[in-house]
Structures are given as structure tokens and as C-alpha cells.
Amino acid sequence: MNRGSWLLGRLAQIVPTFLMIGIAVFVLARLLPGDQVSAMLGERATDETIARLQAELGLDRSIFEQLLNFLVAAAQGEFGTSMSLRLPVMQVIAERLPVTLALMSIAMVLALAIALPLAFVAALNANRWPDMLIRTVFQIGLSSPVFYIGLLLLTVFAAGLRWFPVGGYGDDWGEHLYHLFLPGLTLSFSFAAVVMRNLRAGILAVLTAEYVDFARAKGLAAGVVLGRHVLRNALIATVTLVGLHVGALLGGAVITETVFAVPGVGRLMIDSILARDYPVIQALTLVLAVLVSLAFLLTDLVQMWLDPRVGR
């Protein structure tokens, strides 16, 4: 099998994946206690109005017909109207999603910027004091809850030193970056800790590999040996981990956005759940699941680029 057909096969996997996500979200919504109609109309609705709304929403059809209608509408980005905001669901999500994506990107960049060099320092000084120190600090980072780190950073750098805003999102890109720095840092902590630990172990495993000795025996400069021969091989395992961690990062974003009052989809999710805004919850679940599966796809593509053995 060549790499081209492997790639096509991998891309084709998205179709059934998305379909499964759609069905799962549809079924989950039906499993929720209480129904959409009574949530919309309240307790004093007459049977007549309930029946009319059910017909309007297509809820009087068979379950398969409903599923089909849902999937077709979802594929077109049509998720109905938010009950609490009185706006099209897609419009609400489209406004909020970029904020969360920006937050996650900042968190990822910060995490990698922190984890990459420190993983090297730790691995190259394995079991000596720099390694011990780095691992201890990250152990604390890993075991501290996101909301605690967030409140700590808020208290010190926003409320105390006043270097950063306490919350919000700002109006232009520069302000966005400024507003999202602290939440991004908060979100990056546990992620950086996971990447650092994994990469440190990966580097240690690769450092004693024969091909690294051979690279030295070839007379390559230390930087080339570390960058090309050690890092690249150590990254292969770490990339998988980074991809798998995107889901956890989304979960962290929900909490971080709440702590820092960032108007992203995490905040939206919490608000919608509290308001029982089913169309929004359903659409968000779908969009986020699709995002995570796209992140997995991206992971596989990076993996393929890093490791020529993938897909052969």
C-alpha cells in the first residue's frame, strides 16, 4: 500500500466518523430527561399548543425520519433557534467559536514553548537537580486543578500587579491576545506538564539509541544531533499525545472561560446547560466533537510527515 492511498483512506474515515457523531448527538438529546417542547412552552401549555409545536419541530414524525432530518439540517449548519438568546444557533456559535479556538491556540503555543526546551534540559540532566526541579514544578502543575491555577494567576497578575485584565476579550487582535494571555497560560499548565513528561521520556529513550551514537560518530554538530536525530524521533510519540489531549484542552477551556469571563463556546456551553437551551447544547456538542475528530486527523497527518514508516 502506498502513502497516497493511505492518506485517501484516512480522509475517507471522516465521513463515517461525522455520521456517528451526528447519530450519537441525536440519541443523546432524546435521552435527556424532560422534552424540548415542554421546556419551550412551560408548564401551563395546552395539549393543542403542544401538538402544534411538535408538528412545527417535526417531533410527530417517526424517530428515523427525525434522525434523517436532523442529519440533513446539521450537514447544512442548520440547528434552529436558540431558545434563550432568540438568535440562530449557528450564528451564536460562529461568534463564540473563534474566541475558544484562539484561546486553545494560545494555550498550545505557550505549552509547547514551555515544554519543549524544558523537556530537553530535563532529559539532558536526567536525575540531576535541574531535572528534579523541572519535574517537581510540573508535577504540581499537573496535579493542580485548572480553576485553582486560574484564580491564582488572576489574583497575582491581574488583581494584584495589574499587568493583565481580569476578564473579557477586547475589541481587536492585539487586545484579544492581551486578554487571552492569562487564560491561555492557565489552560497551558497541565498540557505543558503532560507534553514535558512525555517528551522527556521520549528524548531519554532516543538519546541512547544507536542511530544517535552513529550521528555523533559521523561528526555532526551537537545541535544537529539533538534537533534532527533526537527531537524528531522523540516527537513522534508526543504528537499523538498532543492530538489526544485536544479533547481535554476543550474541557479545560470550559472552566478557564468561566473563571476569566471569556466569551467563548465554553462559556456558551455552561450558560446553555443552565438555561436548558437544547438546540445550542446539541449543536455545540456536535461542533466540538467534529473539531476533536479534525484534530485527530491533523495529528495523523503530522505523524505521517514526521515518520515515513506511517502508511507504508
Binding site: 560518530a217 559521523k218 561528526g219 534532527r228 524528531r232 515515513p308 507504508r312
Partner: protein
């Protein structure tokens, strides 16, 4: 004229949790320009460690003694001088080509990065040289091969590729650490012929580490026999094989198939422990010619003829 490579009093100690391990102990030998020296010994005798000590590739080991490369002290070289010597003047070939080639880099890149490190060639020049090298080591269809990765090569082809990498910068000496051990017999023979041919054509010197006396007989000019990190016997291959002056060499030759004898004679006992070096001769506990002095006094290297020296108390007894 000074020898190309001169090793004297080389000692390598690994400090482990269970105490020091003396992997190489008072080793000395030299390599002249254009000659092939074989280092032979059983597993754990310190052959591979010796090669890596010469190029300072050992991790966490204490290396003492002298390693002179064209009169220059290798153990005192700074990082940059050492880098230029490695690969530039001394090429190395490892035992397991699958492990020694980086699995995620193309063969072409693994050749050209050596050229970048040691030559002034531009990209086109490097590519031409890489093709020339593949041709030199007998890899056909070089253009296709350069873009391929190690897993797309067979075992023998991988070893050829590694030799091509080691030869890239025209080194004066090639250190080959059991280059044929991981290969099947027919491929072994091809690789040995290739190495011997390269030495003859390029005027390069070769140190070939092996546990196989047959490889020594076929390929080398001189041989050094090691046991427990110490040098037993050294000399030109013909006199050493015809009349060994060390009891261990004699035992090794007796255990070698295909010499016309009726049965192979195994060497009794086990390889010695290196954490407690023997006071006398390290081979004494397994030796058929053992004398009382062997247990108490370490034998010194003595000359027997112009091209043979041995460290054995029973050297005279072996001749009869």
C-alpha cells in the same frame, strides 16, 4: 613516521551501582596507514568498547590511557576538533544497520548531512558525491535509493548504506564494529569483500572488530586477540594462526570450525567477571596450560619473532 592510530595503556571503567566494571584494561595496539587490523574476542571482551573509546562515544565511562590519532591526543581534543575527526578522518560502521540508521530520515539525507559536516560541497556536489558513494558500495539505482528510508532496504543493503555514510568524507581510517554479525552468511561474505576492496582501492586503514576468526583469516593483515578487556596476543595473521603464542588464541583456534580437525574443542568455563579483575592472567581459570605463576602475576607482553607478541606465561609450552 608515527602510526596512524596508536593506543596505549587504554583502560575503560564503567562505574555502576554494583561497583566498577573494568571493560578494557591496559590495552595497547597500533594501526598503520592502509592496513587491516582485526580485533577478535568473545562477547564482553571489550572489543566494541575499545572502538567507542577511540572516538570518545562512550556514555558515562572513565577512559584513561593514550589514544593518539596521527600524533594528536584524542582524549584531550576539544569538542570541535573531535567532531572534525569523527566522520571526517575516522569513519565508523556499527553492528546493527537497522538500529544505527535513523528510521525517519532518508538515506540521501543521512549521507549528505555527513558531507555538510565535513566538506565544502554545494547541494549539487553533495548529491553527485552521494550517488558516487552508493555506486562505490554496490547499491544500484542510486537515484531512487537516495530518496528511500532504511526500512525500504534489505539488511545487506542497509549495511552497504552505512558503509557509504562512513566513507562519505574520505576518512583515513574506518572502524567497523562487527559489521557482518547481523547479516546472513552469503551477505557477510559480500560485505567483507567490499570492505577489503575499499581498503585496497582507497588506501584507507581498517579496524575490524569480530568474534569470528574466519573473518580475521579472510580479511585482515594483523590481528589482536582480546580477553576480559586485556590484550592477549597480537601480530600478523599468518604466524599467529600457524603458531599461537597465547593459550587463549590456541583455544579459540581449536574452537573454530573448518580447520580439518575431527571435533571442535569448546573452551570450558565462563567468560570472566569484569567487576573483580584477576590478579594474574584473566584466562587462567579456563586455561589448559595453566601454571602456578598464572594465578599470581599478570603476564607482560613479550615479542616472539618480528611480527608477533603475546602476554602468556605458557607461551613457550605452546610451541611444543
Amino acid at each position: 613516521m608515527t602510526a596512524l592510530l596508536e593506543v596505549s595503556d587504554l583502560a575503560v571503567v564503567f562505574h555502576t551501582k554494583r561497583g566498577p566494571v573494568h571493560a578494557v584494561d591496559g590495552l595497547g595496539f597500533s594501526v598503520e596507514r592502509g592496513e587491516v587490523l582485526g580485533i577478535v574476542g568473545e562477547s564482553g571482551s571489550g572489543k566494541s568498547v575499545t572502538l567507542r573509546a577511540i572516538t570518545r562515544l562512550l556514555h558515562g565511562a572513565e577512559v584513561t590511557g593514550r589514544v593518539n590519532w596521527q600524533g594528536e591526543d584524542v582524549l584531550a581534543m576539544d569538542t570541535e576538533r573531535l567532531r572534525r575527526m569523527r566522520g571526517g578522518q575516522i569513519g565508523m560502521v556499527f553492528q546493527e544497520p537497522m538500529a544505527a540508521l535513523n528510521p525517519v530520515l532518508s538515506i540521501g539525507l543521512q549521507i549528505t548531512e555527513t558531507l555538510i559536516a565535513h566538506t565544502q560541497l554545494d547541494a549539487a556536489g553533495r548529491r553527485a558525491r552521494a550517488l558516487e558513494l552508493l555506486d562505490l558500495v554496490g547499491i544500484a539505482a542510486g537515484r531512487t535509493r537516495l530518496a528511500q528510508f532504511p526500512h525500504e532496504f534489505s539488511g545487506g543493503m542497509r549495511q552497504r548504506a552505512m558503509i557509504a555514510i562512513a566513507l562519505a568524507a574520505n576518512p583515513a581510517l574506518l572502524l567497523a564494529d562487527e559489521p557482518t554479525t547481523a547479516l546472513d552468511v552469503t551477505i557477510q561474505d559480500q560485505i567483507l569483500r567490499l570492505l577489503r576492496g575499499l581498503v585496497d582501492d582507497l588506501g584507507m586503514a581498517l579496524v575490524l572488530v569480530t568474534h569470528d576468526l574466519g573473518v580475521i583469516a579472510e580479511t585482515c593483515d594483523r590481528v589482536a586477540v582480546m580477553y576480559a578487556g586485556r590484550l592477549c596476543e597480537t601480530g600478523a595473521v599468518a604466524p599467529v594462526f600457524a603458531a599461537p603464542r597465547h593459550a587463549y588464541t590456541k583455544a579459540l583456534l581449536g574452537a573454530m570450525p573448518g580447520q580439518g580437525q575431527d571435533a571442535l574443542v569448546a573452551i570450558p568455563g565462563m567468560a570472566p567477571r569484569l567487576d573483580a579483575p584477576a590478579l594474574g592472567c584473566a584466562f587462567a581459570p579456563r586455561c589448559a596450560f595453566r601454571l602456578p605463576v598464572c594465578d599470581t602475576t599478570r603476564p607482560a607482553l613479550r615479542e616472539f619473532g618480528p611480527a608477533q607478541s603475546s602476554a602468556c606465561h605458557a607461551a613457550e609450552a605452546l610451541a611444543s
